[in-house]
């Protein structure tokens, strides 16, 4: 093998550290549904937060909306979380609704053969078919979700069911 090995860690990732890019996982208990907000790099570094969010969403037994608009990177841990949560909700008669667009997430779900497990609102352009909404779900989302633009100041502390790093 050629090439000079640097010190443990890095060469070529100037200006960024692994901790800088770690994502956030937030779970909010909203009226009639659970809202999961994903932000930044959704990968192995937020495994515990994803597990917490998934268990909360399953245990709540309510429709779950997952906002993936601000996902910068997602790895197999993150995609596995989405797939398992969608499957878990489906098994109790519920559906995971993804708030997009996020082409990276949409394409990965398709590549994994799991795109049929979820529905999209404001769908990713690359996969418009999965956006088809049943009227009652669309009405529900319009009524309760509105625009969450990650303005944390809008979220009361009592509403936060869990938060990530």
């Amino acid at each position: 093998m050629n090439g000079a090995y640097g010190p443990p860690g890095v060469s070529g990732a100037a200006g960024r550290t692994a901790d800088d890019t770690a994502g956030d996982v937030t779970v909010l208990s909203e009226a009639g549904h659970t809202l999961v907000l994903l932000h930044g790099d959704v990968d192995v570094r937020v495994t515990d937060d994803l597990e917490h969010a998934g268990r909360y969403a399953i245990d709540s037994g309510r429709p779950t909306l997952m906002d993936v608009r601000h996902v910068a990177m997602i790895d197999s841990v993150g995609i596995s979380f989405v797939v398992r949560l969608a499957a878990g909700l489906r098994n109790v008669g519920l559906q995971l609704i993804l708030r997009g667009p996020c082409p990276r997430v949409a394409e990965l779900l398709t590549l994994m053969g799991a795109d049929q497990l979820v529905q999209w609102v404001n769908p990713a352009p690359a996969v418009p078919e999965v956006s088809v909404m049943t009227p009652h779900i669309e009405e529900h989302i319009d009524e309760h979700i509105g625009e969450y633009d990650y303005d944390r100041s809008r979220l009361g502390a009592d509403d936060v069911a869990g938060s990530g790093s």
């Binding site: 443990p8 399953i58 841990v77 797939v83 098994n91 799991a114 690359a126 996969v127």
Partner: protein, 166 residues
């Protein structure tokens, strides 16, 4: 569905020139190397409009991240990674010291049983999806797992995503 035999056995065919090499000791290192590989590939490979994973940088980032994560979680130190350039393609190689842990490709989890997040559980499957090919071979005292990422996305990837696009 993919099977274990979807993994090629033996080194990647072709001639490859190592561009950079890293040692990886922890998840944080794997994340940094993943980002570095993504940047290096993206900086020298045109990213076409359209599908997100049409861009070689995106495919390299995902493939490298999964190979690195598997090595850190399931392999043995030392873990080393290289990025090499070949004919219209990049080669990501990750070597670790665990000779007895054969790379496997698990099924996609579609049930609620077990942990909601299984680190690395789908890593190789994901790498296979975004790469031209993925393979492995034993080395002295360990093994090397590699992913070949073409400048252009593999036809099966674009066909699948385009088909979904209607």
């Amino acid at each position: 569905m993919l099977a274990d035999d979807a993994l090629a056995r033996g080194p990647a065919a072709g001639r490859w020139a190592v561009q950079q090499a890293w040692e990886v000791t922890a998840v944080a290192d794997a994340v940094r190397v993943r980002a570095a590989i993504s940047e290096m590939v993206a900086a020298t490979t045109a990213a076409p409009d359209g599908l997100f994973f049409a861009a070689a940088g995106a495919r390299a980032e995902t493939a490298a991240g999964e190979l690195l994560l598997n090595a850190v979680h399931h392999g043995a130190a030392p873990v080393r990674a290289t990025l090499s350039r070949g004919e219209a393609a990049w080669l990501i190689e990750v070597t670790d010291a665990a000779a007895d842990h054969r790379p496997t490709v698990p099924a996609v989890p579609t049930g609620p049983e077990g942990n909601l997040t299984t680190p690395g559980g789908l890593g190789l499957r994901l790498a296979l999806r975004v790469s031209d090919s993925v393979g492995w071979y034993p080395t002295e005292g360990g093994k090397t797992v590699w992913a070949r990422v073409g400048d252009r996305a593999p036809a099966r990837l674009t066909e699948l995503l385009t088909h979904q696009n209607g």
